[in-house]
């Protein structure tokens, strides 16, 4: 099979091998609905193009409904086979018959984009609201064909007349012979209509699929669109299967009485000379100040930044780097791209929004100097040319992460700066994957909801392979059943079909001219967002600039944490900045090596934590490796253990050759990064830069297995030609394939590693501020607030409860207080001397920020509330809010526990204090039953999500001891192989794709954490207990690997009843 140059084009389906026919009959089909008319068209762009080419068509048009979303794919496919494409769209009007519209030239294309943008911006996402007036106003340089529909009415005749006046020779009547009633009589009506108004007929087959066999799928798509089943779809389906690409001979025969209609198609195709390649993308030009070219300005910024970054003089190596990079940027004419990114970063800095660039081009000396990244090129050796190679005729790749709570400000800045018609968010095409495909097809085929869900769950792996009879039997389905067979067949066909457009996570496109003349823009489902119709791949194919504006929770946390630290500092002390954090602090590395990393960016996951003590990082580059190594790629490529053995000196580091030594030296001969994989292919197997880039794309298109196999032969051949052993070549290929599942580029790893270091440094030196910062940035990271607080307490930080006289909305720093709290015995003491943390009202479930701000304001005005009575009267809060505060135990400041406080606030009327308040009769004091401790803790969890009093498990320890359950800390000195029972709250359940169905569960009790490993068979047996209980008992034997202890589970049991309603939210990750 020839290699697939564009990963978007899937392999031609085996079901149909087009025969090339003699094309002595010239035909151009202009009315084609692709599957980008969502749930209407039943063929991919490339299928249509390949079939049209095979049938000898002279040209093919694309007319998706109110959309140009599929044109790039069609363009790429048509270019590949050398078929002329006529770009167009089918427009639907609220007051007029449909029109097929094809722009004649670039101008007409701009008009069509603008028209669609108007129609789409007017209404909700995915809809288009156009009237004929809009069309007549805007579209001049187009060919149009009116679609008269089944029966010709007076209105249609009128419409044709009116349009003829405006479009003149550029109007046709779209006639199709689809045998829905008598073709000839229909044709004659149209001919008569055309003759009356002097408008020629255009032959088209209203194509919805490339081959007749796709008709069933088209029916199913119709059913999905209408939400009905195939059995009750009735007239919503097409009456027959005629809407495929017919041969030119067939078309000629259908229109034998009206050969002009066929010629008309060729005429239009000839007239419409517009081609997507004519779209010239231009970078916005307002970024450089007057009088300076963009390159000069970038150069100014870089050198000014360098002077600032290196106050003691720019090192010679850096100077040289900057010069080289600027030269390359100039050659590739991508300076404006850097200025665009710089502009966003500058805006964020001015607003105090923390941000960091990431991606291949981000870790360049220029980016460091202009402040896009904080990764010092002096600290890490990354070659710029590797990523921005002249061969890759694509804009460079820089993603910028912003604080997740403030990213929207940056996005809105872009809209404001460039305007809605010059900037837009990239679309994301949501396509049918295994489950959604089975679900929708099954429903449309009339299967019961329960059966469909069952099938979808059982067949989740569908998209990896084909469905055999044995597999169907395994899941209890009868492969001979017609409906089952149809569902299987149609699901196979629908996989990869686009279902709708969504917005890309952060990709934004900005242009010099009007973006709305480049591509239609529509509203997103989110307010204030506008999205273009093309996705990342389309934009890449056309060479359009995109900047990824991403959200990162850890940046929010770091920003908040640094704010706390600076607030505590004397005013004259220099404030802490992210880039002024001291580098290479041994205490930070020591902490990381002990896996004491709850809350630290990236390395807080359980897999990372079990790697840390083995890797024992002691310099920045170790963190880069740490980030990259615990990824499915290296794990599946079997690179982790060789690397660890070499690092610990248990294996000698050997390089198969000198050239490869240069590539692999920094990772001890084991490729860990995507870039290395590419270099190995280039240096070892003699790949050209372009081929290596294709390899990279193949690796990135994860799960599309097969793509990478094409490179197998090439790599083996190339490497043996260069004198490497077959064994080594196979090993290299295996490693490369591993990257297919999740390779991590070194440049990304370096940027992430910086955040790892910064967050670890903050945790080590300012544990209270770090804890408060994390709590105020929730939800983020792996751990729930209860574990974050507990971890702070373990480090000696005093954590104080929510209190109406002390707390604010956010968690705050409190004056130093006696360490710990409840039953926590601090394990480390570096938080003991620093400030404590006061929990904020944000921790209380169901309180609104507005109400809390009001409480705090009133409190500041009156200098603190004196009594419950005072509080209620001053705030005049509703009984519901008062009750919520009482239930959250926030009134201890008045000496009131939960129940008395609740009694006191119940039945209060939410009116400001009246004149007669003192005349209110005093109520007799009541004695309510005291709340037992277990219930107090339970109530803490229910209202605040954590308890500072006791750990819930501590309260039932006596019961657990009777059941022979040991505390988690005892696991530390349990010998390997010993049979144990542990119990705890379920913190995290994880089922990584790489671990062949093994489930990892982390339990927490009052003494610490127990790591469980559950094999698939055990998991299946105890699924209920594992997945649905808060408190669980695990029985199994101890396994040890260095410092890391696991329990290999044999049995799980739900003990939640013991807690009596204590809620604990675990975080589940797949």
């Amino acid at each position: 099979m020839p290699e697939n140059p564009n990963p978007k084009l899937h392999a031609p389906s085996a079901e149909f091998k087009p025969k090339v026919m003699p094309n002595d009959v010239a035909y151009a089909e202009l009315g084609v609905t692709t599957n980008f008319s969502f749930l209407r068209g039943a063929s991919h762009a490339d299928e249509l193009v390949a079939q049209a080419a095979a049938l000898g068509y002279r040209a093919i048009g694309i007319t998706d409904l109110n959309s140009l979303a599929g044109v790039v794919r069609m363009h790429v496919a048509a270019k590949e086979v050398g078929l002329k494409l006529v770009v167009g769209s089918r427009l639907q009007f609220k007051d007029h018959s449909d029109l097929l519209v094809w722009p004649v030239d670039r101008m007409g294309y701009g008009e069509l984009c603008t028209l669609l943008t108007i129609g789409k911006r007017r209404t909700d996402k995915g809809e288009c609201d156009l009237s004929m007036g809009d069309f007549l106003n805007g579209c001049k340089n187009v060919h149009a064909a009116i679609v008269p529909g089944e029966a010709i009415s007076q209105t249609v005749a009128g419409e044709v007349g009116k349009l003829k006046d405006v479009l003149g020779k550029q109007l046709s009547i779209a006639a199709s012979c689809t045998y829905e009633s008598d073709n000839q009589s229909r044709l004659e009506e149209w001919v008569a209509l055309g003759r009356r108004s002097g408008v020629p007929l255009l032959a088209t087959n209203d194509v919805h699929y490339h081959i007749p066999a796709r008709r069933k799928l088209q029916d199913i798509l119709t059913c999905i669109r209408h939400g009905c089943t195939i059995f009750d779809a009735g007239l919503r389906l097409f009456q027959n299967g005629e809407r495929y690409l017919k041969s030119p001979q067939q078309m000629q025969s259908l229109f034998r009485e009206h050969p002009k209609a066929i010629e008309r198609g060729l005429e239009i195709a000839h007239d419409c000379s517009f081609n997507l390649d004519q779209l010239k993308y231009e970078y916005p030009d307002e970024l450089a100040p007057a009088g300076r070219t963009a390159l000069e300005y970038l150069s100014d910024l870089a050198w000014a930044g360098a002077t600032e970054r290196y106050p003691s003089g720019i090192p010679a190596r850096i100077r040289e780097l900057i010069e080289r990079e600027l030269r390359l940027i100039g050659e590739l004419k991508i300076e404006t791209y850097f200025l665009t990114v710089y502009d966003l970063v500058r805006f964020a800095r001015a607003r105090g929004i923390l941000c960091q660039g990431r991606g291949s081009a981000a870790n360049s000396a220029v980016c460091y100097c202009i402040g896009v990244t904080s990764v010092d090129p002096a600290r890490i050796d990354l070659l710029f040319e590797r990523f921005v190679s002249a061969a890759r005729n694509e804009p460079p790749d820089i993603d910028i992460d912003f604080e997740h709570e403030r990213r929207e400000e940056v996005i809105q800045y872009v809209y404001e700066k460039y305007g809605r018609d010059r900037a837009g968010m990239t679309a994301e095409v949501i396509t049918y994957r295994g489950r959604s495909a089975v679900r929708d097809v099954g429903k449309a085929m009339g299967l019961g909801l329960d059966t469909v869900d069952y099938m979808a769950k059982q067949l989740g792996w569908w998209d990896r392979g084909t469905m055999t009879d044995e597999k169907l039997h395994e899941v209890g389905l009868d492969p001979s059943d017609r409906t089952v067979r149809m569902v299987v067949e149609l699901t196979g066909q629908i996989l990869g079909f686009p279902r709708h457009l969504s917005q890309h996570v952060g990709g934004m496109v900005m242009t010099r001219g009007l973006l709305s003349e480049l591509v239609p823009i529509e509203n997103a489902s989110m307010p204030d967002r506008t999205v273009i119709e093309w996705d990342k791949q389309d934009i890449d194919d056309l060479g359009i600039l995109k900047v990824d504006i991403l959200a990162l929770g850890m940046l929010t946390c770091i920003a908040k944490c640094i704010q706390f630290i600076n607030d505590q500092k004397p005013t004259d002390a220099p404030p802490l900045r992210m880039y002024s954090i001291p580098s290479e602090d041994p205490a930070v590395y020591e902490m990381a090596s002990n896996a004491d990393t709850v809350g630290v960016f990236q390395i807080e996951s359980r897999a990372q934590m079990s790697m840390l003590p083995r890797l024992r990082p002691n310099k920045f580059y170790d963190l880069v490796i740490e980030v990259a190594i615990v990824r499915p790629g290296p794990i599946q490529g079997d690179m982790v253990h060789p690397y660890l053995r070499r690092r610990n000196g248990e294996e000698t580091v050997v390089y198969p050759s000198e050239p490869l030594r240069a590539v692999l030296e920094k990772t001890l001969g084991v490729p860990l990064f995507q870039e290395q994989a590419m270099r190995v292919a280039m240096v070892g197997a003699g790949f050209s830069a372009e081929e290596a880039d294709k390899l990279r794309r193949a690796m990135a298109a994860w799960r599309r297995s097969g793509a990478i196999e094409e490179f197998h032969r090439k790599i083996i051949e190339g490497m043996s030609r260069n004198g490497y052993s077959l064994e080594y070549a196979e090993q290299c290929f295996k490693q490369l394939r591993g990257f297919g599942e999740y390779g991590f580029p070194e440049s990304h790893a370096a940027s992430f590693a910086l955040l790892v270091y910064v967050s670890a440094w903050l945790k080590r030196h300012h544990p209270a501020a770090f804890c408060a910062g994390l709590l105020n940035s929730q939800p983020m990271g792996f751990y729930a607030p209860a574990q974050i607080v507990r971890d702070a307490q373990l480090h000696g930080v005093a954590v104080l409860p929510v209190d109406v006289n002390q707390s604010k909305w956010d968690c705050t720093l409190a004056p130093p207080a006696p360490a710990g709290g409840g039953d926590v015995k601090p394990r480390w003491d570096w938080g003991r001397t620093g400030p404590g943390v006061r929990l904020g009202f944000r921790m209380v479930r169901g309180l609104s920020e507005r109400v809390v701000r009001e409480i705090v304001k009133l409190r500041d005005e009156c200098g603190g509330f004196r009594s419950m009575d005072h509080f209620c009267k001053a705030t005049a809060l509703s009984p519901a809010v008062l009750a919520r505060l009482a239930k959250a135990d926030a009134f201890r400041t008045f000496g009131l526990a939960r129940r008395p406080a609740l009694w006191a606030v119940m039945g209060r009327v939410s009116e400001p204090s009246s004149l007669f308040e003192d005349m209110e009769e005093r109520e007799a004091a009541v004695l309510l039953p005291t709340m037992p401790e277990r219930q107090e803790v339970t109530a803490d969890y229910q209202t605040v999500g954590l308890s500072l009093k006791r750990h819930p498990v501590a309260l039932i320890r006596a019961d657990l001891r009777r059941m022979n359950i040991i505390p988690a800390e005892d696991l530390g000195h349990a010998s390997a192989g010993r049979f144990v029972k542990v119990a705890g709250l379920v913190l995290i359940r994880q089922r990584p794709g790489t671990a062949s169905g093994i489930v990892f569960v982390t339990l927490e009790d009052e003494s610490g954490i127990a790591n469980l490993i559950i094999r698939p068979a055990v998991f299946e047996r105890y699924r209920q207990a594992t997945c649905h209980s808060m408190l669980v008992e695990a029985t199994g034997h101890v396994e040890r690997q260095g410092q890391v202890v696991h329990v290999m589970v044999r049995k799980m049991r739900d003990l939640s009843e013991l807690l009596g309603g204590c809620e604990n939210k675990s975080r589940d990750f797949r």
């Binding site: 089944e150 029966a151 045998y179 829905e180 009633s181 008598d182 000839q184 009589s185 008709r215 069933k216 029916d219 195939i230 059995f231 009735g234 007239l235 919503r236 389906l237 009456q239 027959n240 299967g241 005629e242 085929m445 009339g446 329960d450 869900d453 017609r482 409906t483 149809m486 009750a883 239930k887 939960r898 129940r899 609740l902 009694w903 119940m906 039945g907 109520e923 007799a924 009541v926 309510l928 039953p929 005291t930 709340m931 219930q935 209920q1024």
Partner: protein, 473 residues
């Protein structure tokens, strides 16, 4: 287990003890419950049916006391004041009720107390399945019970729980005055009702006698006239009973007992409820004509199995005629159905479907108003469709022109030995069969006219090239 639908989820409403023991709880989704408990049987939760059965059950309970109240979802109150003597003590009454219910396979909890509130509390939350509380023991009996025994709204129970007030005893020691302000009026009201401080009269179910009439003959009767005479008397009895209740019969059962003691039953369904003796007689006569006997009948009976409240229609001045015509029509269809069988009277309904024989369906006749509604559905009626469609297409032999062309036009065809020379042929219109049912062949329909001016609807199956006649225009 009973399952209902909340939004699109199927949620458990009630479950049996066995399911509860396996961990099934109300509020779970059906999927969760089935996962917990393999082989779980479930039915739809139907609150209305539930209410109806409880009402019927309350009717049945009237045998123990004249004053019976049914209280949703699952309680029945009996006023047993003064019945001790009848049953020889409350103990015995209690046992009697419990045993009779056991025979009906109901599990019950029974309490007899001075107030309905206390009885409910003890029955629902007491320790024993049967309990009798004396006049003086109410407050003591209640003190130890959960506050939930007071029939309170969930919100009030939640507030009480938050304050740690678990038992009625704890509630009773709180200052009365402070309660309404905090929990609203219902709390005190329920407490006082239970304690008998305020009265709570029962709302008894109305006793409704079953309407039926029977007649036994002294010797077997064979003559139809005599039978009709007897039926007339029974009908008069039944209609009188119906009229006093203001109801009309919807479903009747006729029962004939032969001298050999074998029984024949005949059901009569009415489209509209009626208590009109003449109408009923006509129907019954029609129905009894089909009943055969060798030996004669010794007894006949009429039982009203379903009845409805008669609505006295407002007779509008202008539509009187059409109304009467409509009623006559209904009568006719009822009589036809009795004579020819339930399925004989049908009404056609249009169905939106491309395949001609699927574009309509025959329904049981219901009432004229429903018929009007059904004909308004869309259909591909703007296309050429014949007036008469054959129930199944008949294969014909057909000549086409040009002969060699697969897409040739029909020029003549043979049907039952007769040849038709065609003057015109319009088409083809292609219709593909419902592939989801395994019928994915395409038919090519032609609207043809022979030289004599007769129009036919022919089709050719694309795949087999065979020709069929499907209708006449």
């Amino acid at each position: 287990m009973l399952v209902g639908r909340i939004a699109s989820r199927q949620v458990v409403f009630h479950a049996c003890d066995i399911a509860i023991a396996r961990g099934v709880r109300a509020g779970m989704t059906l999927a969760e419950a089935t996962a917990l408990c393999r082989g779980l049987v479930h039915g739809d939760h139907d609150p209305q049916r539930n209410a109806r059965s409880l009402q019927a059950f309350a009717q049945w309970m009237i045998r123990f006391s004249p004053v019976v109240e049914a209280s949703l979802p699952d309680s029945i109150y009996l006023d047993v004041t003064g019945t001790e003597r009848l049953y020889g003590g409350l103990e015995r009454l209690c046992r009697l009720v419990s045993e009779s219910l056991k025979k009906l396979r109901f599990s019950t909890r029974i309490a007899i107390a001075p107030t309905p509130g206390a009885a409910w509390a003890v029955a629902s939350f007491g320790r024993r399945d049967r309990a009798i509380i004396a006049e003086s023991g109410v407050s003591e009996a209640l003190a130890g019970l959960s506050v939930a025994a007071l029939r309170l709204e969930p919100e009030i129970l939640e507030s009480l729980d938050a304050l740690g007030i678990e038992t009625i005893g704890q509630l009773m020691i709180l200052p009365r005055k402070s309660l309404p302000k905090r929990f609203g009026a219902p709390l005190l009201k329920r407490l006082d009702q239970a304690l008998g401080l305020i009265a709570e009269p029962l709302v008894p179910v109305r006793f409704r006698r079953r309407i039926e009439a029977a007649l036994e003959f002294e010797s077997p009767v064979e003559s139809l006239e005599m039978l009709w005479e007897a039926l007339n008397r029974l009908i008069a009895e039944v209609t009188d009973a119906l009229k006093t209740q203001g109801r009309g019969a919807k479903r009747l059962v006729l029962e004939f007992t032969s001298s050999d003691a074998s029984r024949t039953q005949k059901e009569i369904h009415l489209s509209q409820a009626s208590a009109d003796s003449a109408k009923l007689f006509n129907l019954i006569r029609l129905a009894s004509e089909a009943v055969k006997t060798e030996t004669g009948f010794v007894a006949i009976a009429i039982k009203v199995q379903a009845s409805e409240k008669l609505t006295h229609e407002q007779m509008s001045l202008l539509h009187k005629v059409s109304r009467e015509a409509e009623r006559d029509f209904v009568d006719l269809t009822e009589r036809l159905a009795l004579r020819l069988g339930e399925n004989a009277v049908r009404v056609a309904e249009l169905v939106p479907h491309h395949v001609p024989e699927r574009a309509f369906r025959l329904l049981k006749f219901d009432s004229p108003s429903s018929m009007a509604l059904k004909s308004e559905l869309p259909s591909p009626c703007h296309k050429a469709r014949p007036l008469r469609l054959l129930p199944t297409p008949t294969e014909v032999r057909c000549m086409i022109y040009p002969l060699s062309d697969e897409e040739g036009i029909p020029v003549s065809f043979m049907l039952k030995g007769q040849s038709f020379q065609l003057a015109h042929a319009r088409g083809p219109e292609r219709i593909t069969g419902p592939w989801c049912e395994g019928r994915d062949k395409t038919r090519e329909y032609f609207d043809v006219e022979d030289k004599a001016g007769k129009r036919f609807w022919l089709f050719r199956i694309s795949e087999t090239r065979k020709w069929y006649l499907h209708g006449y225009f």
